[in-house]
């Protein structure tokens, strides 16, 4: 107390202060949970933290990670996938593609029920497929579907307009949740249906509590059709808006899972935490690629030699090994590394400043007395600094060595950037685009001439147009022979890489972090965007 005046008698307030101090001590009582060994391995709660705020929980009319994670817990799908891209039975105990590729027959399990107790039948499957075809943002995914026939309650025959091999991946948990027809088929507009916020599915967990912007709770569904699953009693997903807070939370054990960690520094911090396991498995299906895109209709970038010159000067190795500390795999083409269709034999554009200079000379951009050849702008998606801004800043200094002056144009927020890029108001931009499994779903959109559409973000904003590529993509989409299909996609990748509408940089280093003591982590190609019915605690944490 700085009050050293003896005339000051603060006895009354001292007592009050003591009371306040005592009250604070009670408040400060440590609320962290302590682990205590228990015999059972079933049960327990998993607390997850994410910054991804879902618009709602219905993946049939909404794609993206934020909705996919809860949607795949609440709704089951015809198929699910393992770590090696093999389809596995889920609601469909078996499936058969007709020899001509014009239909796919699903035999459904007979014991699946929705959370309200009503059985899952072929009617629900037919209704869901047609609903997704009409409403899902990825229209190429089911555009080939003509109708779904239901000869009996447990058989659904998907009739196609033309062969559509991508259908098998489209039947994954995230893009094909099976909705209850008796709830969603009431004539209300599906995108604004009240059930999107109070969903009823047949998946391993029921949504029991939702506080918008705060958290949602998923509880074990006792009548889930796979015996003995799910293992957990409850999954609580907290919306945590700040990554530092999320880091501190998993370090303390307040949180047991951190999905979609993308920052290299965050990944390194998590690797050092003794109570945490971290894995980059679980994103091969998503296939997120970070790349540098060119506006191929704008001078001087309409000249393929200029684009190649930039590629030869950019130095992908430095970006992946130094900027991303070796956490990100190199991406060399339009199909993400880890996909069975990825073609590794393409031009790698290894750093070659001499070659870059020759190409620019040939294109008619000689060195000026000050050493420069041209000036361009580069944009990036705001918010994802390590993947976007840092790479753009690095390219500014790196391309200077090739005589290319880049001016970095910062956008204040995502819509501003999206507006610029989708209205073709840019020279170069960093960008991140997802493959979403089959090329027909997530790759074609970037290269098809027919998808050059002003005002649409993540369409063909490079305005790249090559008739040969269009032809290959359309043919490969319908090719029933897997070998022939792979060969077509290989050729497509080689052409795109040498035309260089895009300089491919890296696979986005998405990681999932978990508390130690959890087993059967979701490491399949869809990772956290598939049912978490196997993950379990080795010993139950005391709640």
């Amino acid at each position: 107390m700085p009050l050293n005046d003896p005339s000051l008698k603060l006895t009354a307030s001292r007592r009050t202060l003591l009371k306040i101090a005592f009250g604070l001590t009670v408040l400060l009582a440590d609320a962290a949970s302590h682990l205590a060994p228990a015999a059972a391995a079933d049960g327990g709660t998993l607390v997850m933290a994410t910054s991804q705020v879902p618009r709602h929980f219905n993946g049939a009319v909404q794609s993206g990670l934020a909705t996919a994670m809860p949607s795949t817990q609440i709704f089951a799908s015809p198929l699910r996938y393992d770590e090696n891209w093999n389809p596995k039975p889920y609601l469909a105990e078996s499936w058969e593609v007709a020899p001509d590729g014009m239909s796919v027959t699903l035999k459904l399990v007979k014991n699946a029920v929705f959370h309200d107790g009503k059985p899952v039948t072929s009617e629900d499957v037919a209704f869901s497929i047609m609903t997704i075809k009409a409403n899902h943002p990825f229209q190429t995914m089911l555009a080939a579907v003509d109708k779904v026939e239901t000869p009996d309650p447990f058989t659904a025959i998907i009739k196609l307009l033309h062969p559509h091999p991508a259908l098998l991946l489209a039947m994954s948990p995230a893009p094909m949740p099976i909705l209850p027809k008796h709830i969603y088929g009431d004539g209300q507009e599906i995108k604004a249906h009240p059930a999107n916020l109070k969903p009823v599915g047949s998946g391993p967990y029921r949504l029991t509590d939702y506080k918008q912007g705060e958290y949602y709770t998923l509880e074990k569904f006792d009548k889930f059709f796979i015996p003995g699953r799910p293992k957990l009693d409850k999954i609580v997903v907290k919306i945590v808006s700040d990554s530092n807070a999320a880091m501190v939370s998993i370090e303390r054990g307040d949180v047991n899972a951190l999905p979609f960690v993308v920052g290299v520094r965050d990944i390194e911090r998590l690797e050092k935490m003794p109570g945490v396991t971290i894995t980059n498995k679980g994103f091969t299906g998503v296939g997120p690629i970070n790349w540098l895109a060119f506006n191929t209709k704008k001078k001087p970038l309409d000249d393929v030699r200029v684009r190649q010159a930039i590629a030869f000067a950019a130095n992908r190795d430095f970006i992946t090994s130094k900027l991303m500390a070796g956490k990100a795999a190199a991406a060399t083409g339009p199909i993400a590394p880890g996909s069975p269709l990825d073609e590794p034999n393409v031009e790698k554009y290894k750093l070659d400043l001499a070659k870059s200079g020759e190409l620019l000379d040939a294109a008619g951009y000689p060195k000026k007395p000050d050493g420069s050849r041209m000036s361009l702008t580069i944009d990036y998606i705001p918010g994802a600094d390590e993947q976007q801004r840092n790479v753009a800043e690095y390219l500014r200094s790196q391309l200077k060595r090739a005589g290319i002056n880049l001016e970095v144009r910062a956008a204040p927020d995502f819509p501003t950037w999206a507006q610029r890029i989708s209205s073709f108001d840019f020279d170069l931009t960093m960008d991140t685009v997802f493959n979403w499994g089959d090329p027909v779903i997530g790759v074609d959109r970037t290269y098809l001439t027919s998808n050059i559409r002003k005002g649409i973000i993540w369409s063909n904003t490079q305005q790249y147009s090559n008739p040969k590529v269009d032809e290959l993509l359309v043919a490969a989409a319908r090719e029933t022979s897997p070998d022939k299909r792979k060969a077509m996609y290989s050729e497509f990748q080689k052409i795109v890489v040498s035309d260089a509408p895009i300089y491919f940089v890296n696979a986005v280093p998405y990681y999932n972090a978990f508390s130690k003591g959890l087993s059967n982590l979701p490491t399949t190609i869809w990772g956290m965007m598939s049912p978490l019915d196997e993950i379990s605690w080795d010993t139950l944490p005391k709640n």
């Binding site: 005046d5 000051l8 709602h56 604004a192 999320a246 927020d413 819509p415 501003t416 685009v433 997530g442």
Partner: protein, 326 residues
């Protein structure tokens, strides 16, 4: 009677001001590049042209700006604030869910900063050039000058990681929900760090204000009289001098409400506090026009209510204003 006329005038002003808030914010947010359809497409990881075009028609974004504003105002007058583009929920529901969280945060930060600031200022005033007074000045000005999110992060790392004794995210322990008194205690715990972070910004102002006014009061005749009567020091300060010191503090506190809301945006983001501040911030990023406009509208209502109440209290406390003798 005089008071009634005054209040009527105040209310009329408030209504005009709220209309201005709506129109101005509407124009501002529409000046920002991009639109909600782009954002929703972005959040989906891309969408086809038809989907985006349909969204734009659905939200009336294909109409002229003036037409959009007119439609919006016509609805608001009937009390219909529309649906959030992003969440497809009535905006009023979203806000109703968020208002309590923000009020807990803002009011506890306000009380904390007024009480602590006044206390520090009063103690400083006794020896204006002493070491205590000097260090209060330095520390409180540091708190005032440091960016709020930085202070927040520092506290978060300190009490979340170095001494993990306080919760650092959200408003309650969502993994182990509690009820009744335990729940209140839980919320109280979660409130400690965010409210301290927000209060630190304002403590400086109140301690300066209290110090200056206290120094004035201590040299006033009535204090000298009180001392001459042999009253104990804490009565002199607490009863006589403090009253006149509190009047300007109450005024400033009422006017600070708007600033507190602004500070809350950052504090809520750092501590994942589910309040309106974060909703404002996220609505801007999402170009969720109806949500943003409604949140700003209701924030303005709260700020104005605070100002009107301050004004009233002030008139009741200070007889000079009541009689209109200025």
């Amino acid at each position: 009677m005089n008071l009634l006329i005054h209040m009527t005038r105040q209310l009329a002003n408030a209504v005009g001001l709220l209309l201005a808030v709506l129109v101005l914010n509407f124009c501002l947010i529409h000046l920002a590049p991009g639109d909600p359809a782009l954002v929703i497409a972005g959040e989906m990881g891309g969408a086809s042209a038809d989907v985006i075009a349909a969204l734009r028609v659905k939200y009336g974004l294909d109409q002229s700006l003036f037409h959009q504003l007119w439609t919006y105002l016509a609805k608001v007058v009937t009390g219909d604030f529309g649906y959030s583009y992003y969440f497809n929920e009535p905006v009023v529901n979203l806000i109703a869910h968020r208002i309590p969280a923000t009020l807990y945060l803002v009011i506890s930060a306000l009380l904390l900063s007024v009480v602590v600031g006044t206390l520090l200022g009063v103690i400083s005033a006794r020896r204006p050039n002493g070491w205590f007074s000097q260090s209060v000045t330095v520390i409180s000005l540091t708190g005032y000058a440091a960016p709020v999110f930085w202070t927040g992060l520092l506290l978060l790392l300190l009490f979340g990681s170095v001494w993990p004794i306080l919760p650092v995210t959200g408003m309650s322990d969502v993994a182990r929900p509690k009820a009744g008194f335990a729940h209140l205690l839980d919320v109280g715990q979660h409130l400690i760090l965010p409210s301290i972070t927000l209060a630190l910004v304002f403590i400086a102002q109140y301690s300066r204000l209290a110090r200056v006014n206290m120094i004035d009061a201590l040299t006033a005749d009535y204090v000298r009289t009180a001392r001459a009567k042999g009253l104990p020091e804490y009565v002199v300060i607490g009863k006589h001098a403090l009253r006149n010191t509190l009047i300007p503090i109450v005024t400033v506190a009422g006017l600070q409400f708007g600033h507190l809301f602004a500070g809350a945006v950052l504090v809520e983001t750092v501590f994942s506090w589910p309040g309106m501040g974060r909703l404002v911030f996220e609505s801007i990023l999402r170009r969720d026009y109806p949500t943003l406009l409604a949140v700003l509208f209701f924030s303005a209502v709260l700020v104005m209510a605070a100002n009107i109440i301050t004004d009233l209290v002030y008139r009741l406390v200070d007889p000079r204003i009541r009689s209109g003798a200025r």
